[in-house]
């Protein structure tokens, strides 16, 4: 009897992990999520190495956040240069190569500060919460996020394999396209 109860509890427990997947937080993120300090793009720093900063996006395993990120990626015309992640005027985002770093805070800084050769600075234009949603979506483009939470469908005609089916690319810091 007791063994049966334990088995039931154990078999239900994995479902608890799913609770966070769809969590929707409509309010502004806590102030701690806003990145005020500068983000380092290289390990070479003068003096003491900087304290480790936030390395996870608040929406990394959140299906709602990534879905919103996907919608905003189109709404803010990221597609204009990055072409659904395939790249064009801007670099592709679905491969393993990274010019300005693959960690969430580096992607955040790339969006907020802009980067040479065409990436505009969206700081002050796109609210923090939305930048983090876009960060999570950009990560999902190269399979860096949990597959059970990545977007599985397109609002318009599908142009590529859904993010949820994207195999994980190993990030490589190349520094060039």
């Amino acid at each position: 009897m007791r063994r049966g109860a334990v088995l039931v509890v154990l078999s239900v427990m994995p479902l608890i992990a799913g609770c966070e997947r769809e969590k929707r937080d409509y309010q502004q993120l806590p102030a701690a999520a806003a990145r005020q300090d500068s983000v380092h793009l290289t390990d070479l720093v003068p003096g003491e190495p900087p304290a480790p900063t936030l390395t996870r996006s608040p929406y990394e395993g959140n299906a709602y956040g990534m879905g919103e990120g996907k919608r905003l990626f189109a709404a803010y015309n990221c597609n204009g240069c990055h072409a659904q992640g395939g790249g064009g005027i801007g670099p592709p985002l679905m491969d393993g190569k990274w010019i300005y770093g693959s960690s969430p805070d580096q992607i955040y800084s790339t969006i907020v500060q802009g980067r040479p050769d065409g990436m505009p600075a969206f700081g002050g234009r796109v609210p923090d919460q939305q930048v983090w949603q876009i960060v999570a979506y950009v990560q999902s483009l190269s399979g860096q996020t949990p597959q059970d939470a990545a977007p599985g469908r397109d609002d318009d005609m599908a142009t590529k394999k859904a993010e949820t089916r994207k195999e994980r690319e190993t990030p490589k810091q190349t520094g060039h396209r």
Binding site: R24, Y26, Q27, Q28, A75, Y76, G124, R125, V126, P127, D128, Q129, Q130, D155
Partner: protein, 315 residues
């Protein structure tokens, strides 16, 4: 806020809604008569049973009674069917030679309204408030950008769905001036209940005046504060989604704000367009309409006041 007429199918303000109302009353009275007859027959049967009059009814009387009942039911049902078909035909046959053309696109959770014209320079876009000339037919093309919505102004017509990738057409006419409330009638997500719009039916001259005012770009700011407001709109987060014609703000994922101050509500009928509601809405949209696409923008209080002052000048 303008005073709405009672939002009801039984308060028709146009020919189509009038036909629908007639059909409603026809069905109501036929059903009432049937109900009363059935109840009377039931009462008679109960009374007879109580008195214990168990005399057998002759076979011929039974046959006659059943034939009459079946006959009356058939006539009533076929009559209602006929009335329904005739109403349906009448709804689609409004002479539309001098019709006004409007294209409405449903978004989660607001309405984009485009006034079409053969001359492209006379076309313009607005949102959440539809103006109609009284006595002139209007052809409304209905589209959806994301999920299925449904356009419903009970005072003017029945519901018609807006379906992504498809165009539905609705023929409308308002015969009496007034302000009517319309709303989305197909569940479309978390803020479906706050996806309303206003329909203003006005006399022809007044409508033409409204049209020519709406075609103009937004007026230039007249004071330092409103100038600062426009600056914040153009260089801050607003311009990422909204359009204000005549400025650098030209994005198309949120309602057009060119003549925002002429509208009577904000956030698709969620609240009246007053300074207080507007400030609350811009400062924290997720409090007024949780889940809405408008993000918390984090404007400083001075910037917020400037933006509100500027928006109030957009007549």
């Amino acid at each position: 806020m303008k005073e709405y007429s009672i939002q009801s199918v039984l308060n028709s303000a146009g020919p189509q809604a009038g036909r629908i109302e007639q059909l409603w009353w026809l069905m109501f009275w036929v059903c009432t008569v049937v109900f009363v007859i059935v109840m009377l027959a039931l009462a008679v049967a109960i009374a007879r049973g109580r008195r214990g009059s168990a005399t057998a009814v002759p076979e011929s009387t039974l046959t006659r009674n059943i034939s009459i009942s079946v006959g009356v039911s058939t006539v009533a049902l076929v009559g209602l069917l006929l009335a329904s078909v005739l109403t349906g035909r009448a709804l689609g046959s409004l002479p539309s030679s001098n019709a006004l053309h409007v294209r409405i696109t449903g978004y989660q959770w607001w309405w984009n309204i485009e006034y079409l014209d053969a001359d492209p320079s006379l076309q313009f876009t607005t949102a959440n408030e539809l103006h109609l000339p009284v006595g002139r037919p209007v052809v409304v093309s209905l589209q959806a950008s994301d999920v299925i919505h449904s356009f419903w102004v009970p005072n003017l017509h029945g519901k018609t769905d807006l379906i992504p990738g498809r165009e539905n057409t609705l023929l409308l006419q308002a015969d009496t001036p007034g302000v009517f409330r319309g709303q989305c009638a197909e569940y479309c997500g978390v803020q479906h209940a706050h996806m309303a719009f206003t329909v203003v039916a006005e006399p022809s001259e007044q409508f033409e005046g409204w049209l020519s005012a709406q075609r103009k770009p937004a007026p230039d700011p007249g004071s330092a504060q409103t100038a600062r407001g426009r600056n914040v709109v153009e260089q801050g987060p607003c311009a990422m989604c909204h359009t204000i014609r005549g400025t650098n703000a030209g994005a198309r994922t949120a309602p057009d704000l060119t003549h925002f101050a002429t509208r009577s509500t904000i956030a698709a009928g969620t609240a009246p367009n007053t300074r207080g509601y507007l400030a609350g809405w811009i400062a924290d949209p997720q409090h007024l309409k949780p889940g809405s696409r408008m993000p918390p923008t984090g404007l400083s209080s001075d910037d917020l006041q400037a933006v509100i002052a500027y928006l109030e000048t957009l007549q």
